[in-house]
Amino acid sequence: MPEPILQMHALDAHYGDFQALYGVDMEVSEGEVLAIIGSNGAGKTTLMRSITGLLSNEPSQITYHREDISSLRADEVAMRGLAMVPEGRQLFPSLSVRENLMIGAQVGRKGPWSLDAVYKLFPILDERKDQQSTSLSGGQQQMVAIGRALMANPDLILFDEISLGLAPIIIKDIYDALPGIIGEGMSAIIVEQDISKALSVSSRVYCLQEGRVSLEGASDTVSREDISRAYFGIE
Protein backbone atom coordinates (compact mmCIF):
# COMPACT_ATOMS: atom_id res chain seq x y z
CA MET A 1 0.00 0.00 0.00
CA PRO A 2 1.58 3.32 -1.06
CA GLU A 3 1.92 6.02 1.53
CA PRO A 4 -1.11 8.29 2.05
CA ILE A 5 -0.62 11.74 0.56
CA LEU A 6 -3.67 13.27 2.25
CA GLN A 7 -5.35 12.17 5.47
CA MET A 8 -8.35 13.46 7.37
CA HIS A 9 -8.90 12.51 11.01
CA ALA A 10 -12.25 13.10 12.65
CA LEU A 11 -12.83 16.17 10.49
CA ASP A 12 -15.70 18.40 11.60
CA ALA A 13 -16.84 21.48 9.68
CA HIS A 14 -19.21 24.23 10.71
CA TYR A 15 -20.94 27.18 9.06
CA GLY A 16 -21.77 29.24 12.12
CA ASP A 17 -24.09 27.09 14.24
CA PHE A 18 -24.70 24.62 11.45
CA GLN A 19 -22.48 21.55 11.41
CA ALA A 20 -21.84 20.24 7.89
CA LEU A 21 -19.29 17.47 8.52
CA TYR A 22 -19.18 15.00 11.42
CA GLY A 23 -15.94 13.14 12.16
CA VAL A 24 -14.94 12.37 8.59
CA ASP A 25 -11.97 9.97 8.29
CA MET A 26 -10.52 9.65 4.83
CA GLU A 27 -7.22 9.11 3.10
CA VAL A 28 -5.80 9.36 -0.40
CA SER A 29 -2.73 7.35 -1.40
CA GLU A 30 -0.05 8.54 -3.76
CA GLY A 31 -1.13 8.09 -7.38
CA GLU A 32 -4.64 7.07 -6.36
CA VAL A 33 -7.87 8.35 -7.85
CA LEU A 34 -10.54 8.64 -5.20
CA ALA A 35 -14.21 9.26 -5.86
CA ILE A 36 -16.48 11.02 -3.39
CA ILE A 37 -20.18 10.66 -4.10
CA GLY A 38 -23.23 11.83 -2.25
CA SER A 39 -26.47 13.70 -2.79
CA ASN A 40 -26.98 17.46 -2.62
CA GLY A 41 -26.15 18.76 0.83
CA ALA A 42 -24.25 15.63 1.87
CA GLY A 43 -21.18 17.76 2.58
CA LYS A 44 -19.06 17.12 -0.52
CA THR A 45 -18.38 20.76 -1.31
CA THR A 46 -17.80 21.54 2.36
CA LEU A 47 -15.20 18.78 2.43
CA MET A 48 -13.46 20.37 -0.57
CA ARG A 49 -13.51 23.78 1.12
CA SER A 50 -12.00 22.27 4.28
CA ILE A 51 -9.22 20.49 2.42
CA THR A 52 -8.26 23.52 0.33
CA GLY A 53 -8.24 25.87 3.30
CA LEU A 54 -11.21 28.01 2.27
CA LEU A 55 -12.80 26.86 5.52
CA SER A 56 -10.53 26.92 8.55
CA ASN A 57 -10.29 23.70 10.55
CA GLU A 58 -9.27 22.61 14.03
CA PRO A 59 -5.57 21.63 14.29
CA SER A 60 -4.36 18.15 13.23
CA GLN A 61 -7.55 17.23 11.35
CA ILE A 62 -5.95 17.32 7.90
CA THR A 63 -2.42 16.22 7.06
CA TYR A 64 -0.84 16.49 3.62
CA HIS A 65 2.54 14.89 2.95
CA ARG A 66 2.65 14.29 6.73
CA GLU A 67 2.34 18.04 7.40
CA ASP A 68 -0.59 19.43 9.38
CA ILE A 69 -2.33 21.79 6.92
CA SER A 70 -5.57 22.18 8.91
CA SER A 71 -5.01 25.82 9.82
CA LEU A 72 -3.26 27.06 6.69
CA ARG A 73 -4.80 29.67 4.40
CA ALA A 74 -5.95 28.54 0.96
CA ASP A 75 -2.99 30.17 -0.81
CA GLU A 76 -0.56 28.38 1.52
CA VAL A 77 -2.25 25.05 0.82
CA ALA A 78 -2.08 25.76 -2.93
CA MET A 79 1.67 26.47 -2.66
CA ARG A 80 2.12 22.94 -1.29
CA GLY A 81 0.80 21.38 -4.48
CA LEU A 82 -2.90 20.92 -3.93
CA ALA A 83 -5.06 22.32 -6.73
CA MET A 84 -8.80 22.43 -7.27
CA VAL A 85 -11.12 22.57 -10.26
CA PRO A 86 -13.98 24.32 -8.48
CA GLU A 87 -17.64 23.59 -8.91
CA GLY A 88 -19.20 25.80 -11.57
CA ARG A 89 -15.75 26.39 -13.14
CA GLN A 90 -15.42 29.87 -11.62
CA LEU A 91 -13.07 31.35 -14.19
CA PHE A 92 -11.90 34.93 -13.78
CA PRO A 93 -14.16 36.94 -16.14
CA SER A 94 -11.72 39.88 -16.45
CA LEU A 95 -8.94 37.58 -17.63
CA SER A 96 -8.40 36.05 -21.04
CA VAL A 97 -8.16 32.27 -21.43
CA ARG A 98 -4.38 32.48 -21.46
CA GLU A 99 -4.32 34.71 -18.39
CA ASN A 100 -6.63 32.34 -16.51
CA LEU A 101 -4.16 29.56 -17.21
CA MET A 102 -1.22 31.75 -16.19
CA ILE A 103 -2.85 32.50 -12.83
CA GLY A 104 -2.76 28.77 -12.15
CA ALA A 105 1.03 28.84 -12.54
CA GLN A 106 1.26 31.57 -9.90
CA VAL A 107 2.33 29.04 -7.23
CA GLY A 108 5.57 28.56 -9.18
CA ARG A 109 5.87 24.79 -8.89
CA LYS A 110 7.98 22.90 -11.42
CA GLY A 111 6.55 19.96 -13.33
CA PRO A 112 5.31 18.65 -16.67
CA TRP A 113 2.47 21.14 -17.06
CA SER A 114 2.99 24.39 -18.95
CA LEU A 115 0.91 26.53 -21.33
CA ASP A 116 2.09 24.38 -24.23
CA ALA A 117 1.20 21.14 -22.47
CA VAL A 118 -2.30 22.42 -21.69
CA TYR A 119 -2.78 23.63 -25.29
CA LYS A 120 -1.66 20.20 -26.47
CA LEU A 121 -4.23 18.53 -24.22
CA PHE A 122 -7.02 20.95 -25.23
CA PRO A 123 -6.07 22.38 -28.68
CA ILE A 124 -9.23 24.50 -28.81
CA LEU A 125 -7.86 26.64 -25.95
CA ASP A 126 -4.85 27.58 -28.08
CA GLU A 127 -7.23 28.95 -30.72
CA ARG A 128 -9.21 30.84 -28.11
CA LYS A 129 -6.34 31.96 -25.88
CA ASP A 130 -6.92 35.70 -26.28
CA GLN A 131 -10.69 35.59 -25.79
CA GLN A 132 -12.39 36.54 -22.55
CA SER A 133 -12.98 33.33 -20.61
CA THR A 134 -16.71 34.06 -20.35
CA SER A 135 -17.14 34.01 -24.14
CA LEU A 136 -16.38 30.27 -24.26
CA SER A 137 -18.90 27.43 -24.19
CA GLY A 138 -19.46 25.56 -20.92
CA GLY A 139 -17.30 22.64 -21.97
CA GLN A 140 -14.46 24.89 -23.10
CA GLN A 141 -14.69 26.81 -19.83
CA GLN A 142 -14.36 23.51 -17.99
CA MET A 143 -11.21 22.80 -20.01
CA VAL A 144 -9.81 26.17 -18.90
CA ALA A 145 -10.67 25.37 -15.28
CA ILE A 146 -8.92 21.99 -15.53
CA GLY A 147 -5.95 23.53 -17.32
CA ARG A 148 -5.73 26.28 -14.71
CA ALA A 149 -5.46 23.68 -11.95
CA LEU A 150 -2.90 21.64 -13.91
CA MET A 151 -0.70 24.71 -14.42
CA ALA A 152 0.05 24.56 -10.69
CA ASN A 153 1.73 21.17 -11.28
CA PRO A 154 -0.09 19.76 -8.27
CA ASP A 155 0.56 16.46 -6.48
CA LEU A 156 -3.13 16.21 -5.69
CA ILE A 157 -5.94 17.66 -7.79
CA LEU A 158 -9.55 18.00 -6.67
CA PHE A 159 -12.33 17.91 -9.26
CA ASP A 160 -15.53 19.32 -7.80
CA GLU A 161 -18.63 18.39 -9.86
CA ILE A 162 -16.93 18.73 -13.25
CA SER A 163 -19.90 17.28 -15.13
CA LEU A 164 -22.46 19.64 -13.61
CA GLY A 165 -24.34 21.65 -16.23
CA LEU A 166 -22.54 20.17 -19.23
CA ALA A 167 -23.96 18.23 -22.16
CA PRO A 168 -23.44 14.42 -21.98
CA ILE A 169 -21.17 14.42 -25.05
CA ILE A 170 -18.92 17.04 -23.42
CA ILE A 171 -18.89 15.11 -20.15
CA LYS A 172 -17.76 12.05 -22.06
CA ASP A 173 -14.93 14.01 -23.71
CA ILE A 174 -13.73 15.36 -20.39
CA TYR A 175 -13.84 11.98 -18.67
CA ASP A 176 -12.02 10.43 -21.61
CA ALA A 177 -9.27 13.00 -21.12
CA LEU A 178 -8.98 12.36 -17.36
CA PRO A 179 -6.64 9.33 -17.40
CA GLY A 180 -4.14 11.32 -19.47
CA ILE A 181 -4.44 14.18 -17.03
CA ILE A 182 -4.12 12.18 -13.85
CA GLY A 183 -1.20 10.04 -15.06
CA GLU A 184 2.34 11.00 -14.15
CA GLY A 185 1.94 10.06 -10.47
CA MET A 186 -0.64 12.71 -9.63
CA SER A 187 -3.36 11.81 -7.12
CA ALA A 188 -6.91 12.97 -7.59
CA ILE A 189 -10.18 13.32 -5.75
CA ILE A 190 -13.25 13.34 -7.95
CA VAL A 191 -16.46 14.65 -6.44
CA GLU A 192 -19.46 13.67 -8.49
CA GLN A 193 -23.20 13.25 -8.42
CA ASP A 194 -22.93 11.05 -11.49
CA ILE A 195 -22.11 7.78 -9.70
CA SER A 196 -21.27 5.58 -12.67
CA LYS A 197 -18.88 8.20 -14.10
CA ALA A 198 -17.21 8.53 -10.70
CA LEU A 199 -16.81 4.77 -10.29
CA SER A 200 -15.48 4.28 -13.81
CA VAL A 201 -12.39 6.49 -13.32
CA SER A 202 -11.61 5.84 -9.64
CA SER A 203 -10.02 3.03 -7.70
CA ARG A 204 -11.74 3.69 -4.37
CA VAL A 205 -14.96 5.43 -3.44
CA TYR A 206 -16.35 7.18 -0.38
CA CYS A 207 -19.99 8.04 -0.04
CA LEU A 208 -21.07 10.96 2.14
CA GLN A 209 -24.50 11.21 3.68
CA GLU A 210 -25.56 14.11 5.88
CA GLY A 211 -21.98 14.99 6.70
CA ARG A 212 -20.81 11.47 7.58
CA VAL A 213 -18.97 8.78 5.63
CA SER A 214 -21.65 6.19 4.89
CA LEU A 215 -19.63 3.88 2.62
CA GLU A 216 -16.02 3.22 1.76
CA GLY A 217 -14.77 0.62 -0.69
CA ALA A 218 -13.01 -0.34 -3.89
CA SER A 219 -14.81 1.16 -6.89
CA ASP A 220 -15.02 -2.15 -8.80
CA THR A 221 -16.42 -4.21 -5.93
CA VAL A 222 -19.05 -1.99 -4.26
CA SER A 223 -22.54 -3.16 -5.15
CA ARG A 224 -25.40 -1.03 -6.45
CA GLU A 225 -27.44 -1.90 -3.34
CA ASP A 226 -24.68 -0.74 -0.98
CA ILE A 227 -24.39 2.49 -2.89
CA SER A 228 -28.07 3.32 -2.91
CA ARG A 229 -28.26 2.55 0.79
CA ALA A 230 -25.26 4.78 1.50
CA TYR A 231 -26.44 7.47 -0.91
CA PHE A 232 -30.05 7.80 0.11
CA GLY A 233 -29.92 6.32 3.60
CA ILE A 234 -32.66 3.78 2.78
CA GLU A 235 -32.45 0.56 4.79
Binding site: L95, M102, Q106, G108, R148
Partner: protein
Protein backbone atom coordinates in the same frame (compact mmCIF):
# COMPACT_ATOMS: atom_id res chain seq x y z
CA UNK B 1 -9.41 82.92 -28.13
CA UNK B 2 -10.24 83.49 -24.46
CA UNK B 3 -12.64 80.57 -24.55
CA UNK B 4 -10.13 78.31 -26.23
CA UNK B 5 -7.66 79.35 -23.56
CA UNK B 6 -10.15 78.43 -20.83
CA UNK B 7 -10.69 75.01 -22.39
CA UNK B 8 -6.96 74.33 -22.75
CA UNK B 9 -6.16 75.47 -19.21
CA UNK B 10 -9.06 73.35 -17.92
CA UNK B 11 -7.75 70.32 -19.77
CA UNK B 12 -4.36 70.75 -18.16
CA UNK B 13 -5.98 71.22 -14.74
CA UNK B 14 -7.84 67.99 -15.44
CA UNK B 15 -4.49 66.19 -15.40
CA UNK B 16 -4.07 67.11 -11.74
CA UNK B 17 -7.62 65.94 -10.96
CA UNK B 18 -6.93 62.66 -12.76
CA UNK B 19 -3.89 62.20 -10.52
CA UNK B 20 -6.10 62.84 -7.48
CA UNK B 21 -8.51 60.25 -8.81
CA UNK B 22 -6.20 57.50 -10.10
CA UNK B 23 -5.42 56.12 -6.63
CA UNK B 24 -9.11 56.11 -5.68
CA UNK B 25 -10.02 54.34 -8.90
CA UNK B 26 -7.26 51.76 -8.46
CA UNK B 27 -8.19 50.66 -4.95
CA UNK B 28 -11.90 50.68 -5.68
CA UNK B 29 -11.25 48.53 -8.73
CA UNK B 30 -9.13 45.99 -6.88
CA UNK B 31 -10.82 45.71 -3.49
CA UNK B 32 -14.08 47.73 -3.62
CA UNK B 33 -12.73 50.01 -0.92
CA UNK B 34 -13.79 53.65 -0.90
CA UNK B 35 -11.09 55.63 0.84
CA UNK B 36 -12.64 58.72 2.45
CA UNK B 37 -9.19 59.73 3.68
CA UNK B 38 -7.76 59.86 0.15
CA UNK B 39 -7.73 63.68 -0.04
CA UNK B 40 -5.94 63.89 3.30
CA UNK B 41 -3.30 61.46 2.04
CA UNK B 42 -2.73 63.84 -0.89
CA UNK B 43 -2.21 66.65 1.63
CA UNK B 44 0.02 64.41 3.77
CA UNK B 45 2.18 63.78 0.70
CA UNK B 46 2.42 67.52 0.08
CA UNK B 47 3.58 68.08 3.66
CA UNK B 48 6.08 65.23 3.44
CA UNK B 49 7.39 66.91 0.29
CA UNK B 50 7.62 70.21 2.17
CA UNK B 51 9.59 68.57 4.98
CA UNK B 52 11.99 66.90 2.57
CA UNK B 53 12.59 70.07 0.53
CA UNK B 54 13.15 72.28 3.58
CA UNK B 55 15.37 69.72 5.30
CA UNK B 56 17.53 68.86 2.30
CA UNK B 57 17.11 71.81 -0.05
CA UNK B 58 16.08 69.44 -2.83
CA UNK B 59 13.82 70.62 -5.64
CA UNK B 60 10.22 69.47 -4.95
CA UNK B 61 10.26 67.21 -8.02
CA UNK B 62 13.38 65.48 -6.71
CA UNK B 63 11.66 65.07 -3.35
CA UNK B 64 9.43 62.56 -5.16
CA UNK B 65 12.31 60.08 -4.88
CA UNK B 66 11.76 60.09 -1.12
CA UNK B 67 8.04 60.80 -0.85
CA UNK B 68 6.73 58.20 -3.34
CA UNK B 69 8.38 55.20 -1.62
CA UNK B 70 7.48 56.58 1.81
CA UNK B 71 3.81 56.85 0.87
CA UNK B 72 4.00 53.38 -0.69
CA UNK B 73 5.28 51.88 2.55
CA UNK B 74 2.61 53.75 4.53
CA UNK B 75 0.01 52.33 2.14
CA UNK B 76 1.19 48.74 2.47
CA UNK B 77 1.43 48.87 6.28
CA UNK B 78 -1.92 50.61 6.58
CA UNK B 79 -3.61 48.01 4.38
CA UNK B 80 -2.08 44.98 6.10
CA UNK B 81 -2.38 46.40 9.62
CA UNK B 82 -5.78 48.06 9.48
CA UNK B 83 -7.81 48.21 6.29
CA UNK B 84 -7.75 44.48 5.47
CA UNK B 85 -9.61 43.87 8.72
CA UNK B 86 -12.45 46.12 7.58
CA UNK B 87 -13.04 44.41 4.22
CA UNK B 88 -15.91 42.00 3.86
CA UNK B 89 -19.42 41.83 2.52
CA UNK B 90 -20.36 45.04 4.29
CA UNK B 91 -19.31 48.34 2.66
CA UNK B 92 -19.80 50.40 5.81
CA UNK B 93 -16.76 49.43 7.98
CA UNK B 94 -14.12 50.61 5.48
CA UNK B 95 -16.06 53.86 4.98
CA UNK B 96 -16.14 54.54 8.72
CA UNK B 97 -12.53 53.56 9.29
CA UNK B 98 -11.18 55.67 6.41
CA UNK B 99 -13.37 58.56 7.58
CA UNK B 100 -11.71 58.17 10.98
CA UNK B 101 -8.30 58.13 9.28
CA UNK B 102 -9.21 61.37 7.54
CA UNK B 103 -9.98 63.06 10.89
CA UNK B 104 -6.78 61.70 12.45
CA UNK B 105 -4.64 62.83 9.50
CA UNK B 106 -6.10 66.35 9.48
CA UNK B 107 -5.57 66.81 13.18
CA UNK B 108 -2.14 65.23 13.11
CA UNK B 109 -1.05 67.59 10.31
CA UNK B 110 -2.55 70.53 12.20
CA UNK B 111 -0.56 69.56 15.29
CA UNK B 112 2.75 69.14 13.45
CA UNK B 113 2.59 71.82 10.76
CA UNK B 114 0.00 74.32 12.20
CA UNK B 115 -2.90 75.76 10.21
CA UNK B 116 -0.75 78.25 8.28
CA UNK B 117 -0.93 77.75 4.51
CA UNK B 118 2.33 76.40 3.12
CA UNK B 119 3.80 76.18 -0.34
CA UNK B 120 6.68 74.36 -1.93
CA UNK B 121 9.30 76.48 -3.69
CA UNK B 122 9.96 75.16 -7.15
CA UNK B 123 11.87 78.18 -8.49
CA UNK B 124 11.44 79.06 -12.16
CA UNK B 125 9.16 76.09 -12.80
CA UNK B 126 6.32 77.84 -10.98
CA UNK B 127 6.10 80.72 -13.46
CA UNK B 128 7.75 79.43 -16.62
CA UNK B 129 5.54 79.41 -19.70
CA UNK B 130 5.71 79.12 -23.45
CA UNK B 131 3.52 80.31 -26.29
CA UNK B 132 1.73 77.98 -28.68
CA UNK B 133 -0.42 79.47 -31.44
CA UNK B 134 -1.31 82.55 -29.44
CA UNK B 135 -1.91 80.66 -26.18
CA UNK B 136 0.39 80.92 -23.21
CA UNK B 137 0.87 77.58 -21.52
CA UNK B 138 2.45 77.23 -18.11
CA UNK B 139 5.24 74.67 -17.99
CA UNK B 140 4.00 73.28 -14.67
CA UNK B 141 0.40 72.57 -15.85
CA UNK B 142 1.72 70.97 -19.06
CA UNK B 143 4.16 68.89 -17.02
CA UNK B 144 1.35 67.89 -14.64
CA UNK B 145 -0.83 66.77 -17.52
CA UNK B 146 2.03 64.80 -19.08
CA UNK B 147 2.72 63.13 -15.73
CA UNK B 148 -0.98 62.25 -15.40
CA UNK B 149 -1.00 60.63 -18.84
CA UNK B 150 2.21 58.76 -18.04
CA UNK B 151 0.92 57.57 -14.66
CA UNK B 152 -2.37 56.35 -16.11
CA UNK B 153 -0.60 54.67 -19.00
CA UNK B 154 1.75 53.02 -16.49
CA UNK B 155 -1.11 51.80 -14.28
CA UNK B 156 -3.02 50.53 -17.30
CA UNK B 157 0.07 48.70 -18.56
CA UNK B 158 0.64 47.20 -15.12
CA UNK B 159 -2.97 46.03 -14.99
CA UNK B 160 -3.01 44.37 -18.39
CA UNK B 161 0.56 43.26 -19.08
CA UNK B 162 2.13 42.11 -15.82
CA UNK B 163 1.69 39.23 -13.39
CA UNK B 164 0.85 41.77 -10.70
CA UNK B 165 -1.94 43.25 -12.80
CA UNK B 166 -3.27 39.77 -13.53
CA UNK B 167 -3.31 39.12 -9.80
CA UNK B 168 -5.12 42.44 -9.20
CA UNK B 169 -7.82 41.50 -11.70
CA UNK B 170 -8.14 37.91 -10.46
CA UNK B 171 -8.53 38.99 -6.83
CA UNK B 172 -11.01 41.66 -7.89
CA UNK B 173 -13.05 39.05 -9.80
CA UNK B 174 -13.20 36.32 -7.15
CA UNK B 175 -11.25 36.46 -3.92
CA UNK B 176 -11.81 32.84 -2.87
CA UNK B 177 -10.78 31.32 -6.17
CA UNK B 178 -7.78 33.66 -6.41
CA UNK B 179 -6.76 32.42 -2.98
CA UNK B 180 -7.02 28.83 -4.27
CA UNK B 181 -4.55 29.77 -7.01
CA UNK B 182 -1.97 30.71 -4.40
CA UNK B 183 -2.64 34.45 -4.35
CA UNK B 184 -2.75 35.89 -0.84
CA UNK B 185 -5.37 38.60 -1.19
CA UNK B 186 -4.14 40.46 1.92
CA UNK B 187 -0.75 40.90 0.32
CA UNK B 188 -2.23 41.81 -3.08
CA UNK B 189 -4.44 44.43 -1.42
CA UNK B 190 -1.38 45.79 0.41
CA UNK B 191 0.49 46.15 -2.87
CA UNK B 192 -2.53 47.85 -4.48
CA UNK B 193 -2.72 50.38 -1.64
CA UNK B 194 1.04 50.97 -1.84
CA UNK B 195 0.69 51.70 -5.55
CA UNK B 196 -2.34 53.95 -4.95
CA UNK B 197 -0.56 56.01 -2.30
CA UNK B 198 2.55 56.17 -4.49
CA UNK B 199 0.41 57.86 -7.16
CA UNK B 200 -1.13 60.02 -4.43
CA UNK B 201 2.38 61.18 -3.52
CA UNK B 202 2.92 62.44 -7.07
CA UNK B 203 -0.46 64.21 -6.93
CA UNK B 204 0.37 65.76 -3.56
CA UNK B 205 3.75 67.15 -4.65
CA UNK B 206 2.34 68.64 -7.88
CA UNK B 207 -0.52 70.16 -5.87
CA UNK B 208 1.94 71.63 -3.39
CA UNK B 209 3.98 73.27 -6.16
CA UNK B 210 0.88 74.63 -7.89
CA UNK B 211 -0.96 76.15 -4.93
CA UNK B 212 -0.66 76.75 -1.23
CA UNK B 213 -2.07 74.10 1.04
CA UNK B 214 -3.10 73.67 4.67
CA UNK B 215 -4.29 70.62 6.66
CA UNK B 216 -7.98 71.26 5.95
CA UNK B 217 -8.02 71.05 2.13
CA UNK B 218 -8.08 67.24 1.82
CA UNK B 219 -11.85 67.01 1.66
CA UNK B 220 -12.03 69.23 -1.41
CA UNK B 221 -9.38 67.16 -3.24
CA UNK B 222 -11.32 64.01 -2.35
CA UNK B 223 -14.46 65.45 -3.96
CA UNK B 224 -12.62 66.39 -7.17
CA UNK B 225 -11.07 62.92 -7.27
CA UNK B 226 -14.42 61.24 -6.71
CA UNK B 227 -16.10 63.33 -9.38
CA UNK B 228 -13.40 62.49 -11.92
CA UNK B 229 -13.77 58.77 -11.15
CA UNK B 230 -17.55 58.82 -11.40
CA UNK B 231 -17.66 60.94 -14.57
CA UNK B 232 -15.17 58.62 -16.26
CA UNK B 233 -16.87 55.43 -15.11
CA UNK B 234 -15.76 53.03 -12.38
CA UNK B 235 -12.83 50.78 -13.07
CA UNK B 236 -11.66 52.54 -16.24
CA UNK B 237 -8.41 54.47 -15.75
CA UNK B 238 -8.47 56.27 -19.12
CA UNK B 239 -12.05 57.16 -18.28
CA UNK B 240 -10.75 58.67 -15.06
CA UNK B 241 -8.41 60.91 -17.08
CA UNK B 242 -11.34 61.95 -19.26
CA UNK B 243 -13.37 62.59 -16.12
CA UNK B 244 -10.62 64.80 -14.71
CA UNK B 245 -10.44 66.76 -17.96
CA UNK B 246 -14.22 67.27 -18.11
CA UNK B 247 -14.23 68.48 -14.52
CA UNK B 248 -11.25 70.78 -15.13
CA UNK B 249 -12.75 72.28 -18.30
CA UNK B 250 -16.13 72.79 -16.60
CA UNK B 251 -14.38 74.67 -13.81
CA UNK B 252 -12.27 76.96 -15.99
CA UNK B 253 -15.11 77.68 -18.39
CA UNK B 254 -17.36 78.40 -15.40
CA UNK B 255 -14.71 80.73 -13.99
CA UNK B 256 -14.51 82.48 -17.36
CA UNK B 257 -18.22 83.28 -17.20
CA UNK B 258 -17.99 84.42 -13.60
CA UNK B 259 -14.99 83.84 -11.31
CA UNK B 260 -17.34 82.82 -8.49
CA UNK B 261 -18.73 79.94 -10.53
CA UNK B 262 -15.56 77.91 -10.86
CA UNK B 263 -16.24 75.20 -8.26
CA UNK B 264 -20.00 75.28 -8.73
CA UNK B 265 -19.83 74.68 -12.48
CA UNK B 266 -17.56 71.68 -11.92
CA UNK B 267 -20.13 70.16 -9.57
CA UNK B 268 -22.95 70.98 -12.01
CA UNK B 269 -21.14 69.22 -14.85
CA UNK B 270 -20.71 66.22 -12.55
CA UNK B 271 -24.41 66.20 -11.60
CA UNK B 272 -25.41 66.56 -15.25
CA UNK B 273 -23.33 63.55 -16.31
CA UNK B 274 -24.54 61.54 -13.31
CA UNK B 275 -28.13 62.31 -14.36
CA UNK B 276 -27.74 61.22 -17.99
CA UNK B 277 -25.14 58.44 -17.53
CA UNK B 278 -25.41 57.11 -13.94
CA UNK B 279 -22.55 54.64 -14.56
CA UNK B 280 -20.26 57.35 -15.92
CA UNK B 281 -19.14 57.80 -19.50
CA UNK B 282 -16.93 54.73 -19.92
CA UNK B 283 -17.77 52.19 -17.20
CA UNK B 284 -15.94 48.86 -17.15
CA UNK B 285 -17.61 47.48 -14.03
CA UNK B 286 -21.37 47.27 -14.46
CA UNK B 287 -23.21 48.60 -11.44
Amino acid sequence: MDWLNAVVQGTLLGGLYALFAAGLSLIFGVMRLVNIGHGDFIVLAAYLGLTVTTATGLHPLLALIVVVPTMGVIGYVLQRGLLNQTLGDDLLPPLLVTFGLSVILQNGLLEVYSADPQKMEAGALETASFAVGGLNLGVLPVLTFAVAVAVIWGLQWTFYHTALGRAFRAVSDNQDIAQLMGLNRRHIFGVAMALALGVTAIAGILLGIRTSFDPSIGGGRLIFGFEAVIIGGLGNLWGTLAGGVILGVAQTVGAKIDPGWQILSGHLAFLFILAIRPNGLFPRISA
